[in-house]
Amino acid sequence: MINWGGKQWRPGNPNRRQPVNQSVSELMKPLGEKFNRGNVWVPIIMDVPQETSVSNITPSPTPTNTVTPTNTGTPTSTPTNTGTPTSTPTNTQTPTNTGTPTQTATNTPTNTGTPTSTPTNTQTPTNTGTPTQTATNTPTNTGTPTNTPTPSSIASGTTQAQAYLRAVVDAGGTGITSTVSAATITLFTSLVSNNLWDKMSAFYPMLGGNSAGCKFNGKNPVDSNAAYRLSFTGGWTFNSSGATSNGTNAYSNTFFYPSGTTLGNQHLSVYLGNNNAPSGSGKAYIGSSDSNGSYFVIGQDGAPEWFYGVSTNGGSSPGGTPSTQGLLLASATGSTSASTSIALYRNGSIVTNTNQNSVVDRLSVYLGAFNNDGTASQFYNNQYRFSTLGLGLTAAQVSTLSTIINTFQTSLGRNTY
């Protein structure tokens, strides 16, 4: 039994007894106010914990900010450029070419100002490298090649003209002025708008003033045999008027095979700068002939008299002294029957028209001579200013083509009519 000081009940504690004289409002005061004479903040202020160094604190975990701000405002700042650019580039580079020049410039500046620079091209490359043969001069025809189709169905011709001009310049061609560019674009767009573009397998505007520029086919300006790029051989000279053959050993392979187009529906042409019809053994201005007796050619016999054929057996000598200056064009239209109408035109007007037997010509066409069953023969001297190869043309189409080509030549100052 718990003993509570000899009593069996827990005694009261007189020291804990509440004073009876305190009012209710006094009893409601906080205990701290009563113990600290009315200042309740003393135990709080005096109980500030000692400052702890933060250098040893390593936050853990590392907070990750995942707030993604969303900009819903609409900026209204409108900068105003009041400066006037006055950059005037000065080209002082004098290149020294010690290898085989390969021009691959692709810089196409966009000039929005009024350029006053007058560049003077004085580059004279001196080649010390070893040229590499990339073509075979004497083709061996072992089959019946098929001409590769070239792009057709274009919008206007402007893009194609620019691609051609770019190819000429990139290859090292010169003299492509704004006048030449404008004339070339007009040439291409005129061919398209007069429905003659798709009649062309190849046409050669002869621009660039050198072999590298003159070689390109305007229809497909790619440096390959399949694109009918010209391969010049022998004594050619070049200038802004075209390519001149020497009549001794110069010729150019077009790699265009008449057998690759529709028999009885073909044409070929040359635009020559001079009247030159020498007597003697006969000359070929353009063409080919294989061992089966077919001719795809414009030329003359030794009398001299016209001689021409468009994939025909034996060709035709209609008589008349050739007048070679200007556009000479031979065309076959109609059918592949035994009697196909073959016409010869000069400057858009018909010279003669004969019926000839159509046969397959399996050899590529040469300029400056003719491909005589694989050998260049009947070399001819003249200045070649244009040439075309393709499908047959009607008299009206020949007239239109003659006007288009001569307009181009007139713009370049090298027309003959």
Partner: protein, 73 residues
């Protein structure tokens, strides 16, 4: 007209060689079965390894007898 006379070995060394970009030599036989190239080819040649053709003596051009054209009528 003058042309450049070549020996057989000189002719062989020029076949398939570039005169300049996209232009090739074309040695041919003259009327006396001499191998020749034209003066245009010499004047257009830009590669130093072909400089020797510029020191070869010239001869008069004698055209070979060409076959009649057209051979078939």
């Amino acid at each position: 007209m003058k042309v450049v006379l070549l020996t057989e070995s000189e002719k062989e060394s020029l076949i398939g060689q570039l005169i300049q970009s996209d232009l090739y030599f074309n040695p041919i036989l003259d009327c006396n079965d001499n191998w020749i190239i034209s003066t245009e080819e010499v004047n257009n040649s830009i590669y130093v390894e072909h400089e020797w053709i510029k020191s070869i003596p010239l001869i008069d051009w004698c055209p070979p007898i060409e076959p009649p054209f057209p051979p078939i009528k």
